[in-house]
Amino acid sequence: MIETGTLWTVIVVLGLGSFGLRFVFTGLVGDRAMPAWLLRHLRYTAVAILPALVAPQVVWPAATGGDFDTPRAAAAAVTLLVGLITKNVLMAVLSGGSTLYGLLYLLG
């Protein structure tokens, strides 16, 4: 059982902390110029963080208790491939989703 005091402490401090993390650069740096080397690194934030976030979930999905899962790995590969070729997000999502459900049905 979670105590009410603990819960509200976590909600408030986690809320403030999360806002702080989200605001730290846009808020404090604002429109001041950032050094060229830093900007060069920041250009790759999205293409580095999001694949890094996804990679362990693709290789060791929580839903299978961390075991490699062919439908999920294939769905990830198809999504990426269709996305790279068509540059169409919805098309990539639908292709990946149908691969996942198709293979889960066939192999399940």
């Binding site: 059982m1 979670i2 819960l7 509200w8 402490t9 976590v10 909600i11 986690l14 809320g15 902390g17 999360s18 806002f19 993390l21 989200r22 605001f23 730290v24 650069f25 846009t26 808020g27 740096v29 604002g30 429109d31 950032m34 080397w37 900007l39 690194h41 920041l42 250009r43 790759y44 934030t45 999205a46 293409v47 580095a48 963080i49 999001l50 694949p51 890094a52 976030l53 990679a55 362990p56 979930q57 693709v58 060791w60 999905p61 929580a62 839903a63 439908p71 999920r72 999504t79 269709v82 996305g83 790279l84 997000v89 919805l90 990539a92 999502v93 990946g96 996942l100 459900y101 889960l104």
Partner: protein, 238 residues
């Protein structure tokens, strides 16, 4: 810029973020269900989703609180999961840093994985957008996401029904992120950044407090920046 074009940037943001509706609905519902199962009432559950507004960090905090982990550790772990938000903030600064403070604060509160990736890919692709256009677009991108996050947290908390495992909704997030990321691989440097980040993410998967993600992200960003420099020097020599 006229008001009507700004409105159209807002509308474009809504359209571009709409594929995420499929993801947000099940995950917000799931948080509502799990929070109520953990003994939170509806007000507490809603406060959690509205104040923190970060799926992964909320699931982490909820899990650890149930295991009676000391509050300080709960907070450190959940904030570490959210550390990537600071990197998103840095990455958005060149684009919206000149906006009025209240708009920057509003965008900061509304920065989640989905709004960040939709926003930054648009800002990169269309460098001629004004700061006001970008803010309008960003607010458009959160419009189909954040209200549904609140709303379906509430529905999950009220209904308390489990989502069947056979729906395989655990994989909705990987698929939508991969779909969003694919069009962003415009140069070899982007590809190198992603590959290095993936390798580091897998190698560092065991690092506690989800810090493996931050290590992988920084490694990928350094690899991308170095590749960019190398390509520039190579082009200059020819």
């Amino acid at each position: 810029m006229t008001t009507s074009t700004r409105k159209s940037f807002y509308r474009q943001g809504i359209i571009d973020a709409s594929p995420f509706i499929l993801v947000i609905i099940p995950f917000a519902s799931l948080f509502g269900v799990l929070a109520v199962e953990a003994g939170l009432n509806v007000v507490e559950t809603m406060a959690f989703s509205i104040v923190v507004i970060a799926g992964a960090a909320q699931f982490t905090a909820l899990q650890l609180m149930q295991e009676n982990v000391p509050t300080v550790i709960v907070l450190i772990s959940a904030l570490a999961v959210n550390l990537r938000m600071a990197m998103y903030s840095a990455s958005l600064t060149p684009y919206i840093g000149a906006a009025p403070l209240w708009q920057r604060a509003l965008c900061a509160y509304l920065t989640v994985d989905q709004s960040y990736v939709v926003g930054v890919s648009k800002f990169e692709a269309e460098p001629e957008m004004t700061v006001a256009d970008r803010v309008a677009y960003f607010l458009g991108a959160v419009t189909p996401i954040v209200p549904l996050w609140y709303g379906f947290t509430l529905i999950g908390a009220l209904l308390g029904a489990e989502i069947p495992d056979s729906w395989a909704l655990d994989f909705a997030i990987p698929i939508t992120f991969l779909a969003m990321i694919a069009p962003m691989f415009r140069t070899a440097a982007h590809v190198v950044a992603a590959l290095v980040a993936v390798v580091f993410a897998l190698l560092a998967a065991g690092v506690p407090y989800s810090l493996g993600l931050i290590i992988a992200g920084i490694a990928g960003m350094m690899a991308g920046a170095q590749t960019e420099l190398w390509l520039e020097r190579k082009a200059a020599r020819q």
